[in-house]
């Protein structure tokens, strides 16, 4: 379940620049090493979450291909409840630490800046659809992603430059938030506000 860092070269350079600026005069390690440390820490946090939710998933029973829709829905709800109960004290930054958030936000901002207007408009349209259907939706930790709300298409060219996630989790964008979502349980595991540039969004 090792989490692999798959950032593009350009994103890496941009990030390295910021880290370099942060470390100047502070006697810190080389930026790239620091970068690796931050992503290694992020990977450990993700792995810890996945270990926990997989234990909980075992306790609610495996997904059996012979299950009825009732049974699938019931299992998903049980798993969500178990995750929320086990993470009662979960707070923003438990997984998306401030350090990794700063790096990821830079990656995203840099990636957006390289995209032509028509692509940004398409991304904006996907967010608009979500906003139209659920205008009051503000993501919160341990919240279920609203049933029936569209899952805005995740920008395909952004995914390869973000740290890769295990199959239990996915990134999603909700307005300017990057969220970490448990797919089977439909639970928001962590949020990163202001991660996505808002100047191109509705």
């Amino acid at each position: 379940m090792a989490l692999k860092s798959r950032r593009g070269a350009i994103a890496r350079l941009g990030m390295a620049g910021i880290l370099a600026a942060l470390s100047i005069g502070c006697g810190r390690k080389e930026p790239v090493d620091r970068d690796k440390e931050i992503f290694a820490d992020y990977g450990k946090r993700v792995d810890a979450y996945v270990s926990l939710r997989n234990r909980l998933a075992d306790s609610v029973g495996p997904l059996d291909p012979k299950m009825s829709q009732n049974e699938i829905a019931s299992r998903s709800t049980k798993l969500a409840n178990a995750i929320v109960a086990a993470r009662q004290g979960a707070k923003q930054g438990d997984i998306f630490t401030p350090e990794v958030s700063a790096i990821v936000a830079t990656i995203i901002k840099e990636e957006y800046s390289r995209r032509p207007q028509r692509i940004l408009e398409t991304r904006g349209d996907a967010q608009q659809e979500l906003k139209d259907e659920h205008p009051d939706f503000v993501p919160r930790i341990n919240q279920s992603y609203p049933t029936g709300a569209p899952l805005a298409t995740f920008p395909a060219s952004l995914l390869p430059v973000l740290p890769q996630l295990p199959k239990e989790l996915e990134y999603r964008i909700v307005t300017t938030y990057l969220i970490l979502r448990d797919i089977e349980a439909n639970v928001i595991v962590d949020i990163m506000p202001r991660a996505v540039p808002d100047e191109k969004l509705p």
């Binding site: 798959r6 997904l63 291909p65 012979k66 299950m67 009825s68 829709q69 009732n70 699938i72 829905a73 998903s76 028509r118 692509i119 408009e121 398409t122 349209d125 996907a126 659809e129 049933t147 029936g148 569209p150 899952l151 805005a152 298409t153 995740f154 920008p155 395909a156 060219s157 995914l159 390869p160 890769q164 996915e170 797919i183 089977e184 439909n186």
Partner: protein, 368 residues
């Protein structure tokens, strides 16, 4: 033009046609062929979905397709067990009872947990491949085109041999509908489709029917109108859209016989709005795509009993146009000649669309 008319008639004369309650099947309907229905954006649970489903069910009695391709947005709104019943099991009950196998892709309105819903036959996967006869299908999750999925697709495409290769997923990478194509997905997918010889791509998302001029040798269809409708949201004859229909809901039926794919787009009310044939890729570099939109009004003259024996597929004379593209690569596009002469397929680079004509595309719908 004079010489083209007999050819058009020959097309019609060679096409086995069956009709019942206003629906006409203009496909060969051979016993040994692969037959399927294509529906997109169907899961509203409203009366429009049920009306289209009723038409599909009638078509099924004439054209016994054995499986259904679902292009995503399989369930809008809630996804409680009763929603699966009201938005899928009940409208398509007759088809499910007749053992029609549904194979769903995920749309942006679909909870990815739909992949565990047995009647969607997704095998617990967001993306997968399956085979029917000589067709290899690739279902993609266009909502979340992560590197693993892309890697998987390339591996599967490279191993798929000489079968027909048909990909389908929710978001169109070519469309002139108002929300526009998913350009980021196109950048990733198109090179793979071209490299490995994908023949046909179906998408939904846009609530219209649309046939795109072949792009780099690949035939693209948008068929997202099986319940919702974005009235007038198509630009037929302009930009890259060869045929568009957005005055009623719609779905498609498809038949693959050997190296030929016959398709027919049908409105919710049972009218034929487009039909034609696509030829399978013949090699890695030379690709033949032949489309044959019917002259719909002429079809009114064709009548045949549903009990009539299957006949040979249309034998048509074809007009071949060679288009050289950049990077240098020769694509031979073979366009079936019908009663109407058409301009050859345009280059991939889209011309900015002109303002759509008022009233959409009323002149080309045939009530049969």
């Amino acid at each position: 033009m004079k010489t083209l008319a007999p050819i058009g008639l020959a097309v019609l004369a060679c096409t086995w046609t069956a009709s019942l309650a206003g629906q006409t099947i203009a496909l060969p309907n051979r016993k040994s062929s692969e037959k399927f229905v294509v529906i997109g954006d169907a899961g509203t649970g409203d009366k429009e979905q049920y009306a289209v489903a009723a038409t599909i069910t009638k078509v099924h009695t004439l054209f016994p397709f054995t499986f259904a391709v679902m292009l995503g947005d399989n369930l809008y709104g809630g996804e409680r067990p009763q929603d699966f019943a009201n938005k899928f099991e009940l409208p398509y009950k007759a088809l499910l009872d007749d053992k029609v196998e549904f194979n769903a892709a995920l749309g942006n309105h679909d909870d990815p947990n739909q992949r565990y819903y047995k009647p969607f036959n997704m095998g617990g996967e967001r993306y997968r491949t399956y085979k029917k006869g000589n067709i290899r299908f690739f279902i993609l999750d266009s909502n979340y085109l992560d590197p693993d999925q892309v890697k998987w697709l390339e591996k599967e495409l490279s191993a798929s041999g000489s079968d027909w290769k048909i990909a389908y997923f929710h978001h169109p990478i070519y469309t002139t509908a108002s929300r526009g194509p998913e350009l980021e997905n196109r950048k990733i997918l198109e090179p793979l489709f071209v490299k490995y010889g994908v023949d046909v791509v179906f998408s939904g998302h846009e609530h219209i029917y649309e046939r795109i001029w072949p792009q780099k040798g690949i035939q693209y269809f948008t068929a997202g109108g099986a319940a919702k409708l974005n009235k007038g949201d198509t630009r037929p004859g302009q930009d890259i859209t060869e045929v568009g229909f957005a005055t009623d809901r719609s779905f498609m039926i498809v038949e693959v016989a050997g190296d030929t794919m016959f398709f027919q787009a049908i409105s919710g009310g049972g009218s034929t709005v487009d039909k034609g044939v696509v030829a399978r890729h013949l090699g890695p570099d030379t690709k033949k795509v032949a489309t044959a939109p019917a002259a719909p009004d002429t079809l009114k003259a064709v009548t045949a009993s549903p009990a009539a024996p299957p006949r040979a597929p249309p034998v048509v004379k074809q007009k071949t146009t060679t288009v050289t593209k950049t990077p240098p690569k020769t694509i031979t596009t073979t366009k079936q000649t019908t009663t109407k002469a058409r301009t050859p397929p345009r280059a991939t680079t889209a011309v900015p669309p002109k303002k759509p004509p008022p009233g959409d595309w009323g002149g080309r719908v045939a009530h049969l």
